[in-house]
Structure formats: C-alpha cells, structure tokens
C-alpha cells in the first residue's frame, strides 16, 4: 500500500510537470507574438519599438525555458502573475471562472447519477425486455448527440417556444439546469452502457446464482449484492469525467453564454498567453489525476478483495 501511494504520488507530479511543459511548448510553437497582440490591443498601429517595450515590460523578451522556470517558481509561491489575455492576475481569473465550470460539471454529474443509476438497475432487473432494448438503442443515440446542438434544442424548446428558461444565463442554479443537462446526455448514455453491462456480468456470476438458490429475489440480489460489485468500472469512469468535463465544457459554455474555465482557456490560447494556459492546464490536469486517484482508492474500499494492479492513470 505504501509503495502504491508513493508510486501514484510520483506519477501525479510527473504528469503535472509534463502537462505544464507541453503547454509552454505548444504556445511557444504557436507562432503568435503575445507582445504584439497586447501592443495592438491599445494601439492598432503600434510601432516596432512600442511592441518591444511591451515585450520587455511583460518579461516576454526572455527565452521560453526561462519563462517556464519563472512560471514554475511562481506556481510554488502561489502567484503566477498577470494574464496577458485579461490583464488581471491569473489566480483571480481562475478564482472567478473555475467555480462556474465546477458548478456545471457538478450538476452534470448529478444528472448522470440521477439518470443512469435507476435506468441501469431497471435494465439489469429485466434484461432482454422491451425497455432494455429501447435503453440500449437510446444510449447509443445519446452517445452521438453533439452537446452544443442539444443545448440549442433545449433553448428552442424551453426558452423560445415555452419561455420557462432564458437564453442568456439566469443567476443561480436555474441558469445551470439546461447547460448541465445538455453536457450530461452523452455522458450518462455512456454510463448506462458500462453500468448495465457490469451489473449483468455480476447478475450472471456464481454468487448471484447461489443467492437465487438461497431464496433471494432478483431485486434483492441486484441491490444488495450485484450493485456494489458492479460499481468499480463505473466509479473509474465517473472520476475520469469529473476531470474531463471541466475543460470539455467549453462548447456548452459557449452555447449558454456562460463564462467558465473552458471559455477562458480558449481565449488564453488565442492570445498566446502561455502562463495562463499552463496554469489552467495544470489545474485541469490536477483535478483529472486527483479524481482518477480518488476513484482508484474508492474502488479499493468497495472491493478490497480485488487489489488490481492494472489501474493506470
């Protein structure tokens, strides 16, 4: 166990380091001159000298590796400087945009649990039935929905035709209901497929068979025995999405005019703001890797008898 934790912690740091280097390398290759972008923002006809002045004042005259090390030192201090995209401290920006993304992701995952848990259980209770077939078909279609289009359909149905919601985001929870649902449809479709298959595998196992022989009903076997044992692959998937959706929500954020981390990231990349991109990428990756780690630990608690060595990343 000690060895395991040590190895995972090391991988964690290495992946974050890799992610930040990748961010700087990508932006470095980007070919856009951030100093020029900044200078032209205040004065479209900025001269070469003015651009160079901005470059020196923002510390953009140093070579990329030096800027990377400076950023890394800043990250350790907790202050990574000012974004050249928004001219505000990056940490402040993150503090403003991350909660929006987290709320969106959190609510989406709530939808996922709310939909996929009962649906999967019902499928596993009556496999091969009409409802099961319909769900299996529907889940593949759900997997194929472009989330942004679904967002528009929801807006047309519930904001334009029947104005229950508004096209521009309402404050509070209400503003997140539609976007989080749009974001969750492909996710819960995937979940239902994995969950249902996992539940059926458990229901077909020897212990479920013997539980029938002990007189237990299928429903009780499903909820008291199969459910717990079927959870590990679903937990793994859940934790993967937790990290994945934070940046992956950009498209849906765009449809519903929400400003979350995804939208901010897109803007920062466009402005060649390598420090802001690296900071966000590291935060997203940290959430991703931590969530995966938590999923692994949760699975070890759920099924301690199956200490699996094959669980990477």
């Amino acid at each position: 166990m000690k060895h395991y934790i040590l190895r995972r912690a090391l991988t964690f740091l290495l992946v974050l380091l890799g992610v930040s280097i990748l961010s700087f390398a990508l932006i470095g290759l980007f070919g856009r001159d951030p100093a020029e972008i900044i200078a032209r923002r205040t004065n479209i006809y900025a001269t070469y000298e003015q651009i160079e002045e901005v470059r020196c004042s923002m510390g953009l005259d140093k070579p990329l590796p030096a800027r990377y090390l400076a950023w890394l030192a800043g990250l350790v201090r907790g202050d990574v400087g000012v974004s050249i995209y928004s001219f505000k401290p990056i940490m402040e920006d993150v503090g403003r945009y991350l909660p929006v993304s987290l709320a969106l992701v959190g609510l989406s995952l709530a939808w996922v649990v709310l939909v996929s848990l009962p649906v999967s259980l019902l499928c596993a209770l009556w496999p091969g039935g009409k409802a099961d077939h319909a769900v299996r078909f529907g889940s593949v279609v759900g997997l194929s929905f472009p989330t942004f289009w679904l967002g528009f359909l929801l807006l047309i149905a519930f904001a334009v035709k029947r104005p229950i919601f508004t096209v521009l985001p309402a404050p509070g929870l209400k503003g997140y209901l539609l976007p989080s649902f749009a974001l969750s449809v492909p996710v819960f479709s995937g979940f239902i497929r994995v969950f249902r298959a996992s539940l059926l595998k458990e229901m077909g196992s020897d212990y479920a068979d013997f539980a029938r022989a002990r007189g237990l009903s299928r429903g009780r076997i499903l909820t008291r025995h199969a459910l717990r044992n079927a959870l590990p692959p679903v937990v793994t998937m859940f934790c993967q999405y937790l990290g994945y959706l934070i940046a992956g929500g950009a498209v849906v954020e765009n449809v519903f005019s929400l400003s979350g981390l995804g939208t901010y990231l897109v803007g920062c990349v466009a402005a060649a703001d390598s420090t802001a991109v690296a900071t966000c990428a590291v935060i997203v990756a940290a959430v991703f890797v931590t969530a995966n780690l938590l999923g692994d630990l949760a699975n070890r608690l759920l099924c301690p008898w199956a200490a699996r060595e094959d669980s990477h990343g």
Partner: protein, 265 residues
C-alpha cells in the same frame, strides 16, 4: 418433507432440439440419498438446476414435473420461491470459492438468509449461525463470520455452505458436484457431512462424476449418459456388478483412479 417426486423431467435449449435431459423420473424420501452419476454433459447438473428453478426461462425449455410433497416446483412463480428455496430446499454449488458475494462478510450473508426464511430476532439468528457452523465442523466461528469469502479456503467455505443448509433446517439438500473443487481428504469429509445431514432426516440429492464419493455416501444411484438414464440401483450393488457396458467402463475408470483407493481405506 415426505418426498421429492420427479417425473418425465426434460430439459432442452430453446434454439436446439436435442434434449439435455430426457424424461427422467425418480423419487427421493426423507432420510434417503439419491445420486446422479455421470460424466460432464450427461445432464445431471441440468437436472438439479431445473429442480432448483435456476434455469433461465429465456434459454431453456423445461417440461415434466418435480413436486415437493405434492407442490409443483417447475415454473414456480417468483414470489413463492422464497418460501421453498433456501428454507426447505438448500443448494450446495460446485465451486464454493465463488458461491458467496466476495464483498460481504460470511456472517452477514448467512444472517441475510436466516432473516429471509425465519422469524428469529437478531440475537437468535447469531446464535443459530454459530451453532450450525460448529456443527459443520468450523471451530473458529467468530473469525469465519467476520471473514469475506476470499479470506477462507475452499474447504472451509464448503462447510459454511453446509452450515447454511443446517441453519435453516433444510429438508432437502441438493448438491451439485460438491466434491469436485476439493482435494481428496476434504472430499471425504464433505461426503461425511452429507451422511450426517441425511442421518438428521434430510433428503440428499447428490450430483457427482466420482464413483468413490458416491459409494461413500451410499443410497440409490442413477447412472446417466447424454440426458438419459443408463442404469439405476443401490450404489454399492451397481459398483459391484454393473450391468450396462457404460457403467462398467465408469467403474473400471474409477477403480484405476486415486479416489477409489482413498474411499476404500
């Protein structure tokens, strides 16, 4: 229980015509044992799964009848199962290691079964569980109760399953190759446990491919091949003077194996 009466039992796969069990009939009374003997694929496992109601309706076609004291077991509605299976009729599966939920402690799984079938309170159930574990030959009852299945050996879990049958006071015990996954010494002990169950008045339906185990248990034997009955009679008489060629071959094969010598000791 007075008797289990199986008549004209047939089992076949839905999409294939060839029957897995073809019009099998037998009767088993209290305090008796009946052995279904044959090689794998002879239909003996299908027979006991049909009696246990464990064959999926979507895949198998079951016809004939199996009645327990006059009550029909085949095609029994779901809600009546709990009154029979696990209570009056206990099952001992082939592989003890995979028979119990791997993430729930043995004590809780036994308690779950007792809770379902009896009106005992918690303390009474706990006492009953410990008593039946002791009776099945498991001394460390506390450790067994708090263990998850993977913490015990196959032989120990086999005893847990027998203890489970004892705890609900099962009148008919159906065992599907209970000795196959065990080593030779444990095999004999397991068979002896069934002999004790029978002595307490339970009927034992014992499925095996092992003549040695069958002889150790005793009682009537049904030698099966490809779903049909080859020969029947008292197991020791059939062993001593088999009539059919197929039975003779089984006896010869068994006499050569180690199991026979152990049983003869």
């Amino acid at each position: 229980m007075r008797e289990l009466k199986v008549s004209e039992l047939s089992v076949s796969l839905k999409d294939k015509g060839q029957p897995l069990v073809d019009k099998l009939s037998f009767r088993l009374g209290a305090g008796e044992s009946l052995i279904l003997l044959g090689q794998s694929g002879c239909g003996k496992t299908m027979t006991c799964r049909a009696v246990m109601g464990l064959l999926e309706k979507s895949r198998f076609r079951v016809s004939g009848s199996a009645s327990l004291d006059g009550g029909e077991l085949l095609g029994m509605p779901e809600k009546h199962r709990a009154g029979i299976y696990g209570k009056k009729v206990a099952f001992v599966p082939q592989n003890p290691m995979t028979a119990l939920d791997p993430s729930v402690s043995i004590g809780r799984q036994m308690d779950e079964t007792l809770h379902l079938h009896t009106k005992l309170n918690r303390a009474q159930r706990q006492a009953r569980i410990r008593a039946s574990l002791l009776e099945a030959g498991l001394e460390e009852t506390e450790r067994v109760c708090h263990s998850r299945p993977n913490m015990l050996s196959g032989g120990m879990i086999q005893r847990v399953l027998i203890a489970l049958a004892l705890s609900t006071g099962a009148e008919l015990v159906i065992a599907d190759e209970p000795t196959t996954a065990l080593d030779v010494v444990l095999r004999n002990e397991t068979v002896d446990a069934f002999v004790r169950l029978r002595a307490k008045g339970a009927a034992v339906l014992f499925v095996t491919h092992d003549f040695a185990a069958a002889r150790r248990l005793g009682g009537e034997v049904l030698v099966m091949r490809e779903g049909t009955l080859v020969e029947r009679g008292d197991v020791r008489e059939v062993w001593a003077s088999p009539e059919k060629e197929y039975t003779k071959a089984l006896v010869r094969a068994s006499a050569l194996s180690k199991g026979a010598r152990h049983a003869d000791r």
